[in-house]
């Protein structure tokens, strides 16, 4: 008990002696744990709103999209053809089906709003409400002749509201209402349903102006059945229908779909989606955010390790004498290591709790289910395993950065620890020889790097991680430029917009951590090289040369770090993007990223370097002599 008290007392006293360092360390780990908490809290966040939407719209358990190989829909045709009717018959009489709605005609159309052109599937519906899958109108009214209802996310992307005028396949329509549905995933994931996709044929997709509309993201609209039939008459292919099914056991919806496919191996042009599949496609909106946040959180953790390592390393050097004193009064190496570790582990624990709280509070800001669903996500899922993982990550960060110097300090002999105040510098003969051929600032900088190669390596790693994040963001933007469905027609993509917002947050976190790291490293270098710098000034180096040397000591490892970040960043984006297309950013972007990083490092190093050369050389050398 006495030992625990001693360890706690020494740790608390050290924190009180250097509160600024403790706060910075806390901030570095808390930033990483907040990002990690956000990434973990997004898991399953759309489930609750989807269930609310499903209840509000009497959502179906299975949605079947049916198409036949027959010829195109004729303007006067009132009912589905025999092939469609046979599929409908098979489905509505299948075991477990208790109710159905439809089949509703599905027409592919080109929608034009002011400044925007996009592809849309138009579902022909009765003005009377349906018992199964009746979209919830959130603004305006339900369909009427000449009046269409737009799915809410799609309407937002088009930038239109109730009362606005649009054209469908060149015919004028009025936006009668805005609605949400649980029967299909909202724009831009309409075609991402498990086991199915968009089946409505498009007019003129072979033409150069409309070629991108049939393959990219589609929107959903509802119109009256006569209007839908008119639109379908200009379709390029056979007609498509949608049929909604209610099952006696909704939990067996996916099993129903599988059983239907097994029983009808030649199911023609029909695709069945279970409500669970639609729910999963709804989650794509947030899934992309997770794909951004998760690797970002681990990058932030790596940067936090670098921050803690530099800070802890510097503090270990200061605490060598305490190690000697502890050993002199009978402290075992284990006790010494515990004293040295306790402070950082306690700070890491506090940072983990702060990160959990900040992540939990910030999660609602990024876990909006999107306009495609009604309801709210509720509190983020901060489970015990999530909290455990965040706390473990924070402790691992602190341990990874502190354990080795703590054990090394614990093994130091008592006499050495009591006598020495600073670690002896390392000698790298090759670097010293090379530096003699360089201009004075580079000579001084390279020799500082040679004195503390591990710190330089840490600096390079830190810049590499930051550069990795920046290049991954650039790769995202380069790839997003190609993915921006209908970008040429002015249509926004809510998934990309949210991804961009996430990336901006993440970039700010990574850059903030990198800034802390550069300042920590520069300051540690300034303190460590104080005597050497004073001596160099006494021997004739100007303060400018010494400051430039200190900046060079940061820039020399930063350069390879920044360059290494290029392949790592592209690799990280490729890994996060899964099987998706990866576009390598333009060379000019990459060069700008590297130069920008180096300029930032130089700028951030200048202040500590200038402060470091302000103290008179005579004073430093005099105190060293004493």
């Amino acid at each position: 008990m006495g030992r625990v008290l001693l360890v706690g007392r020494l740790a608390a006293r050290d924190v009180r002696r250097r509160p600024a360092q403790a706060v910075l360390l806390l901030l570095a780990i808390a930033a990483a744990t907040t990002t990690l908490t956000l990434g973990l809290a997004l898991h399953g966040v759309t489930s609750h709103p989807y269930e609310q939407t499903r209840a509000a719209t009497h959502g179906p358990d299975v949605v079947a999209q049916l198409s036949s190989a027959s010829v195109r829909h004729s303007p006067g045709q009132q009912n589905p053809g025999p092939q469609i009717l046979a599929q409908v018959n098979a489905l509505v009489h299948a075991s477990g089906v208790t109710a159905h709605s439809g089949p509703y005609l599905l027409a592919g159309a080109v929608v034009r709003a002011p400044g925007v052109t996009a592809g849309v599937e138009v579902e022909g519906r009765s003005p009377a409400p349906a018992a199964l899958d009746q979209p919830e109108v959130t603004a305006g009214r339900w369909v009427s002749g000449g009046g269409v209802v737009l799915e809410r996310t799609f309407a937002e992307a088009l930038g239109v509201g109730v009362g606005d005028r649009i054209t469908l396949n060149g015919r004028p329509f009025r936006v009668a209402g805005i609605a949400v549905t649980a029967a299909v995933p909202p724009y831009p994931n309409l075609c991402y349903s498990v086991g199915g996709g968009c089946s409505a044929p498009f007019p003129d997709t072979s033409s150069s102006t409309n070629a991108h509309l049939g393959t990219g993201a589609l929107g959903l609209a509802w119109a009256t059945q006569p209007d839908a039939r008119v639109l379908a008459s200009s379709d390029a292919g056979p007609p498509a229908y949608v049929l909604n099914l209610k099952l006696s056991d909704p939990a067996r919806a996916q099993a129903f779909v599988s059983a239907y496919y097994r029983a009808h191996p030649a199911h023609g042009g029909s695709f069945l989606n279970s409500w669970t599949g639609i729910q999963a496609a709804d989650g794509l909106l947030v899934q992309d955010e997770q794909q951004v946040l998760s690797p970002g959180a681990w990058l932030a953790c790596l940067l936090a390790v670098a921050s803690v390592a530099v800070l802890a390393g510097g503090r270990m050097a200061e605490r060598t004498r305490i190690v000697g004193l502890l050993k002199a009064v009978g402290g075992t190496p284990g006790l010494v290591a515990a004293v040295l570790l306790a402070e950082n582990l306690a700070l890491a624990l506090a940072a983990a709790l702060a990160g959990l709280a900040a992540g939990w509070l910030a999660a609602p800001l990024i876990t909006s289910p999107g306009a495609g669903l009604v309801g709210t996500p509720g509190a983020p899922s901060l489970t015990l395993p999530t909290a455990g993982l965040v706390v473990a990550a924070a402790l691992v960060v602190a341990l990874a950065a502190t354990l080795v110097p703590a054990l090394r300090a614990a093994r130091t002999s008592t006499v050495t620890a009591l006598a020495s105040s600073a670690r002896p510098p390392r000698r790298r003969a090759a670097l010293i020889a090379v530096s003699a051929r360089l201009p004075v600032p580079l000579l001084l900088g390279l020799r500082m790097v040679a004195r503390r190669p591990r710190r330089a390596l840490l600096g390079a790693a830190s810049i590499a991680v930051t550069s990795t994040g920046i290049v991954a963001v650039l790769a995202f933007h380069a790839t997003a430029g190609l993915r921006r469905f209908g970008g040429a027609s002015g249509l926004s993509n809510p998934v990309l917009t949210r991804d961009e917002q996430m990336l901006q947050v993440l970039t700010v976190v990574l850059i903030a951590l990198a800034v802390l790291n550069v300042i920590f490293t520069a300051w540690a270098t300034v303190l460590d090289a104080e005597r050497a710098s004073a001596l160099e000034r006494a021997l004739g180096a100007t303060p400018g040369q010494v400051s430039a040397g200190l900046a060079a000591a940061q820039l020399l490892p930063a350069l390879p770090g920044a360059i290494l970040g290029i392949p790592l960043g592209i690799g990280l984006f490729a890994a996060a993007n899964g099987a998706g297309i990866v576009t390598i950013p333009a060379l000019s972007w990459l060069i700008a990223a590297v130069l920008g990083t180096l300029l930032a490092v130089a700028g951030l190093t200048t202040v500590p370097a200038l402060i470091g050369t302000r103290r008179p050389a005579a004073e430093i050398l005099q105190s060293e002599a004493g």
Binding site: P425, A436, V440, A532, E536, R537, A538, G540, P543, Q622
Partner: protein, 248 residues
């Protein structure tokens, strides 16, 4: 005393260095007038805290005076910019410190060549000069040794070699034997004697009466001011030099 514009290598008039304010004001150097002729060896003695080291730092441009004028080789230096003072230290002044102040990670020869590299000499020229100086101080065989592998006396000889690297007008030595045993002290004394013989201007701050005895002139200091000045006519080759064991 010489007047400004005279032939003095170092000349100070009313030199003052103050620290603190009001009741806490400390005059480390209090209105010192000083002339050091070219080739002269001047010793400054006095108790600890009397301002000897501060005076040396002022003379070497490592610190700025609070008042007074300071000239080196006829050039006024007390109002020079930091950059100008750095150039002055590089080209005209050599420092020898009590604590040696060698770079721990550099070998003896690398330490000696450092001022030449800072002055922009080519690595080859700097190395040749450093090697020659190490021979001169009797450490040619220790050129590749790190300071940690050298004795105290050897380290100070390396530091003296470093001070001579750029052929300074004046060498300023602050307690150069303060950390040395008797034998090492004698080595350093012999080295200073050879410098004196070669016409090097030397200002040595010391507690050690033996090293003071090798000087041409001895100034005693107390509370920041000169209280006594003695011209040692024998110098290092005369009677006092003999007492110090230089003829032995």
């Amino acid at each position: 005393m010489n007047e400004p514009g005279s032939t003095a290598m170092v000349q100070a008039r009313g030199l003052r260095k103050e620290y603190g304010k009001a009741a806490g004001l400390v005059r480390a150097v209090d209105g010192v007038d000083l002339d050091v002729a070219p080739g002269e060896t001047l010793a400054v003695m006095g108790p600890s805290g009397c301002g000897k080291s501060t005076l040396l730092h002022l003379l070497g441009g490592l610190d700025r005076p609070s008042a007074g004028e300071l000239h080196l080789a006829g050039q006024r230096i007390d109002q020079m910019s930091e950059r100008g003072l750095a150039r002055l230290r590089r080209e005209a002044i050599g420092f020898v410190f009590q604590a040696f102040h060698l770079m721990d990670e550099l070998t003896a020869v690398e330490n000696v060549e450092l001022p030449a590299l800072l002055a922009g000499r080519s690595p080859r020229v700097a190395r040749r000069r450093a090697t020659g100086l190490l021979e001169r101080v009797g450490l040619a065989d220790r050129a590749k040794f790190l300071p940690s592998a050298l004795s105290g006396g050897q380290r100070q000889r390396v530091a003296i070699a470093r001070a001579l690297t750029n052929d300074p007008l004046v060498v300023l030595a602050d307690e150069p034997t303060g950390n040395l045993d008797s034998e090492a002290t004698l080595d350093v004394l012999r080295l200073f004697d050879s410098l004196h013989t070669a016409g090097q201007t030397l200002v040595i701050v010391t507690h050690d009466s033996r090293i003071a005895a090798t000087a041409d002139r001895l100034i005693s200091m107390r509370d920041g001011a000169f209280i006594d000045e003695t011209r040692l006519t024998g110098g290092s080759t005369g009677h006092l030099g003999a007492l110090a064991g230089l003829e032995g």
